[in-house]
Amino acid sequence: MKKICWGTGLLMWLFTSFVQAAPLRLATTTSTDNSGLMRELLPYFEAKTGYKVHVIAVGTGQALRLGRDGNVDVVLVHAPKAELQFVEAGYGINRRQVMSNDFVFVGPKHDPAGLRRLRDSVQALQRIAATQSLFISRGDDSGTHKKERLLWEKLSQKSDPAWYREAGQGMGRTLQIAGELDAYTLTDRGTWLVFRKRLPLELLVEGDPRLHNPYGIIAVNPKRHPHVNHQGALALIDWITSDEGKHLIREFKLEGRPLFVPIETTD
């Protein structure tokens, strides 16, 4: 009798993981996930709607790719140009702008390129190039990386591998590398706030409107992938842009400071 009980129990345990209620899959970027916003927000959404959200945090490029392949139901990224292309190509529908924060330049305290208190991001890059100061780029096609490349395009100088290094990794790692190598880097404010205690770096440049970092949420097109949880995706999009969602976003603080600004207009 005991053996039967153990045997049944073992069999049940072995097979329960194969029986699951369908979750709502959200692909987002590592920096978004690392800020902790999703962790703070989603329980409210889950409690209200009963959906269970699975957050898969990868680079922007991969997040959009997951959406395009239909491996997730909804994507939340911060790369407006790529987002628009995504929708235009028919991979996603019902795009909404959710919130924004900004990018900042950080670097070593002794600031060899003299960026401190500059307000012009392009000028900052110019000085880095001129002084050939070490700069670590994300190098991973992320929203941050795309923004950085956009800024470089406005310069006549080109980056040079002598002082320009591509980390190919997430923001946290990239910051760590910059810290170890006494280098400059471009980072989103959220990740910076999380990491700055552990780093020998300082915030040097902020406030340039070109450093604006808007986030958009897009539902994966159900016409291309009929199996996706479209209802759930729409529910999440509606909720996160609703008053409740906006309120929670506004109230979210990192290291005691609000990080995101919810976008008031809907697209």
Binding site: S17, Q20, G70, Q169
Partner: protein
């Protein structure tokens, strides 16, 4: 910044106070790896037996295939499985990507060659007379096989422990097909990868300690069973 000692202290605290997030992660590791090894072992051992006792064309070839699969990098298995399980892939309709099932499958693929190769070695080392004695005393072939497996059980346990060791500490495959989703597909190794990438070393060290302890335990058991196996040879 905390030094190594400080981080380790905090890590121990985290472990001993039963931090639920931490232990959920440990639970996922064990759940996935135990299932993988439980599902793989019977099939792999039977295959190892057949390869050792049955002569058929391609026998040697099959064995060398398994031997070469022993050292395939885990990320490669992960990538391959990802492409197969992706919606764009041939098995997309199974909806297995980013589930524990996918991780179990990946780990089954990883430990299967080990179990077959080591199991085969154990059977080869087994006494030929064992099979013959069992058969002549009236055992049907399947029972005789079980008898032989029992005779070399310590070597087989060693094979299983080795296979388990490989899969509980792998990160490449779990990361790719699991998606590192908290509470669901985040296991010890993917969590360590994540936490260190965030600079959160305390949780990383805590999980690392669990893994280290497990490694010690496995090694100890390995030595114990290997010794026993030798004694009865």
């Amino acid at each position: 910044m905390d030094g190594l000692l400080g981080t380790t202290q905090q890590a121990l605290q985290l472990l001993l106070t039963g931090n639920p997030e931490l232990w959920t992660i440990v639970g996922v590791s064990f759940s996935v790896s135990l299932k993988a090894i439980i599902f793989t072992t019977p099939v792999a051992l039977v295959l190892a037996f057949v390869l050792a006792y049955l002569d058929f064309p391609g026998n040697r070839l099959l064995l060398s295939v398994f031997n070469s699969l022993l050292s395939v990098p885990t990320v490669v298995v992960g990538l391959l499985l990802y492409l197969l399980l992706s919606r764009q892939g041939p098995f997309g309709d199974l909806k297995l990507l980013f589930t524990q099932t996918a991780m179990v499958v990946a780990q089954m693929i990883l430990c299967f060659p080990i179990l077959v190769a080591l199991g085969h070695a154990a059977m080869q080392a087994a006494d030929q007379r064992a099979w013959e004695t069992a058969r002549t005393l009236g055992a049907p072939p399947w029972y005789a096989m079980l008898t032989v497996l029992y005779e070399v059980r310590f070597a087989l346990i060693t094979a299983v422990l080795t296979g388990f060791g490989r899969i509980i500490s792998e990160v490449g495959a779990s990361m790719m097909v699991g998606g590192n989703i908290m509470g669901f597909t985040r296991n010890i190794t993917t969590a360590i990868a994540l936490e260190t990438s965030k600079g959160e070393f305390v949780q990383g060290v805590a999980l690392g300690l669990v893994l280290l302890l497990l490694a010690f335990l496995l090694n100890f058991l390995l030595g114990y069973f290997q010794g026993k196996g030798k004694l009865l040879a």
